[in-house]
Amino acid sequence: MTTLTMAKALNAGLRRALEADPKVLLCGEDIGKLGGVFRITEGLQKDFGEHRVIDSPLAESGIVGTAVGMAMRGYRPVVEIQFDGFVFPAYDQIVTQVAKLRFRTQGRQSLPVVIRIPFGGGIGAVEHHSESPEAYFSHTPGLKVVTCSNPSDAYWMIQQSIASDDPIIFLEPKRRYHDKGEVDVDATPLPLHQATVAREGTDVTLLAYGPMVRTCLDAAAAAEEEGRSLEVVDLRTLSPIDTATVVRSVQKTGRAVVVHEAQQNLGLGAELSARITEHCFYSLEAPVLRVAGYDMPYPPSRVEDEYLPDLDRVLDAVDRSLAH
């Protein structure tokens, strides 16, 4: 057991993946000498060389498109997109090429590409640096979308993603990069696409992922003081959603609140609400409520605290759910 920040845990996970398999390559802007703007790849180019840790020209479509070509030849490229807001130049390559290749080849060609994206707000950044694009990718068949909420998951999930033969969008909650946590490098990790009950409770289920798991755990702790028992489910994988774990929890509590930073309209909350209603129609005591980013572009950072779901908004929704 060691205590690591999420950033260091990711770095350690990448290092282990590079050591384990010579076919693993990292590519992206500024990931070499600089170690990435968040230092997630710090020291890796020095230790594994420029041929395996590749600084790319400033062109995201090019980064993903060349990764596709490398994967076609048996490599396992792990691509870094510098910020969430800069993934869109690569969107075409991701949705028309990465997501579809296996299907187009009738399952014959796998495309083990991992696309790492630091995502979400809360770090006081300028525009385009705080986006939550997960729904765009989750709606796309052929991709898998995962996100970690703590250092241990970060360490394991990045390795599992690299080992997966499916293309994976790996979302890193950048505001949690410096959160510390225990990492047991000898543990047997949970299966990658399994959700986990991060805290047990009986009254209302909070469904969250990535940066909002911490927020929900805090909310649950606060609620406990008021005598309310909230269960927190950390989805971990956004596509495919682990419906079984979600349904199990909601069938128990009868109430669900989904929490995410992304804009509400057609966000993950919509899908979770639809699935929960389909599966738990008779056990639901209240409609699934959503606490999400408002449906506007991400605002200037000085007001992001008002924009982002926080403990108060979560508890407010819990109150509304219980009032039903």
């Binding site: 498109g65 076609m72 296996r102 187009r104 079984a244």
Partner: protein, 373 residues
């Protein structure tokens, strides 16, 4: 000459005139035997015949669409025959003659157009990757693949049998796409062993080359720091010579280059297109005189290196290919939708497995209904 077909003729590498006369070029030379020339003719004739048959199949409703290569046989065969045994091709959707040269079973080319699959051949074994319909996307894949070759130690390693390179095909229209230009950047930056082979057939659907560039396309690479050359795309000898040189350079670690094969799309863009809306018949006439097949026939007839029977046999072979293609096309069935749920992921998801099962049950219920009747 028409504006869209005006080239800096002086820039054009040509080794065989439209009349079938071999000419010298200060830099390039076709060193193949007469037999090889006859082989190239055969490739072109088979390619054209395949194309004609597919067009007919489309007209008869057996294919949903067909993208004809008519007029581009020399560009395709000349470049394909320049490939070494390890070289890999990333095509667009029109390189049927390249596919033939690389040993793709022609029937496999029809699946995409018939709507039964998205490419039926073995991309690995044939070294002919799948068709790409999103304009330009494959140029980046080609570049990445080339970077991977280098990482595999297969570039400039002094072992001719091992060295490999990549050819990325694309059209004149594609040169405007961001992806193609980014591919130029990456190839240049990493000195990747990739030959960018642009078939400038003068048209991108209805838009003339002049909409995409006001200078000859082969000059694009000058802006990215690697060489470009324009070759008479209807001259199979010149195309072969130029591509061979570029591939050799790439395999030896010399980096990328751009070839503009100056040719012409003799047919419609696809069977859905109606070129009479946007281009003049004159243009077609001009280009008919430059037919890539006729000039080789003329050469072979003049040189007498093959007998008349060669031509007859070739016609027969082409007809057989066409007949066989037709017969097998009619049998080409789509696998059921039910089987496709398993092709989305390597590790199937519970969610999709459940959809698959629901679909199967739903489909069964119809069959049962039908059975009950």
């Amino acid at each position: 000459m028409l504006s869209t077909t005006t080239a800096d003729e002086t820039d054009l590498v040509q080794l065989l005139t439209p009349e079938g006369v071999r000419v010298e070029h200060p830099e390039y030379e076709f060193t193949g035997s007469d037999e090889e020339i006859a082989g190239h003719l055969r490739d072109m004739v088979l390619g054209r015949r395949l194309d004609t048959e597919a067009t007919a199949l489309q007209r008869q409703g057996e294919l949903g669409l067909w993208a004809s290569l008519l007029g581009q046989e020399a560009a395709q065969v000349g470049s394909a025959r320049a490939l070494g045994p390890n070289d890999v091709v990333f095509p667009t959707y029109r390189e049927h003659a390249v596919a033939l040269c690389m040993g793709v079973d022609p029937i496999d080319l029809l699946g995409l157009f018939r709507g039964v699959d998205m490419g039926g051949w073995d991309a690995e074994a044939t070294r002919f990757r799948f068709y790409t319909l999103v304009i330009g996307a494959q140029t980046l894949h080609a570049c990445g693949y080339a970077m991977a070759l280098e990482r595999d130690g297969l570039v400039g390693n002094g072992t001719k049998e091992e060295d490999a390179a990549v050819v990325a095909y694309f059209g004149d229209g594609a040169t405007s796409q961001g992806d193609v230009n980014e591919a130029f950047v990456f190839a240049s930056s990493y000195n990747a062993p990739v030959v960018f082979f642009c078939q400038n057939n003068q048209w991108a659907i209805s838009e003339p080359m002049s909409r995409q560039s006001r200078i000859p396309l082969y000059k694009r690479s000058l802006g990215f720091g690697f060489p470009g050359v324009r070759v008479d795309g209807n001259d199979v000898l010149a195309v072969r010579a130029v591509t061979e040189r570029a591939l050799e350079r790439a395999r030896n670690g010399g980096g990328p280059s751009l070839i503009e094969a100056f040719t012409y799309r003799m047919g419609a863009h696809t069977t859905s297109d109606d070129p009479s809306k946007y281009r003049l018949a004159d243009e077609l006439e001009t280009w008919r005189l430059r037919d890539p097949i006729e000039r080789v026939r003329a050469l072979l007839r003049t040189s007498g290196s093959v007998g008349e029977s060669f031509f007859c046999d070739l016609e027969t072979e082409a007809d057989d290919l066409a007949a066989d293609l037709r017969r097998r096309c009619l049998q080409l069935q789509a696998p059921g939708l039910g089987s496709m749920f398993g092709n989305v992921y390597g590790e199937q998801t519970e969610y999709l497995a459940a959809q698959q099962q629901a679909y199967a049950e739903y489909a069964d219920s119809f069959e049962m209904e039908a059975g009950a009747r």
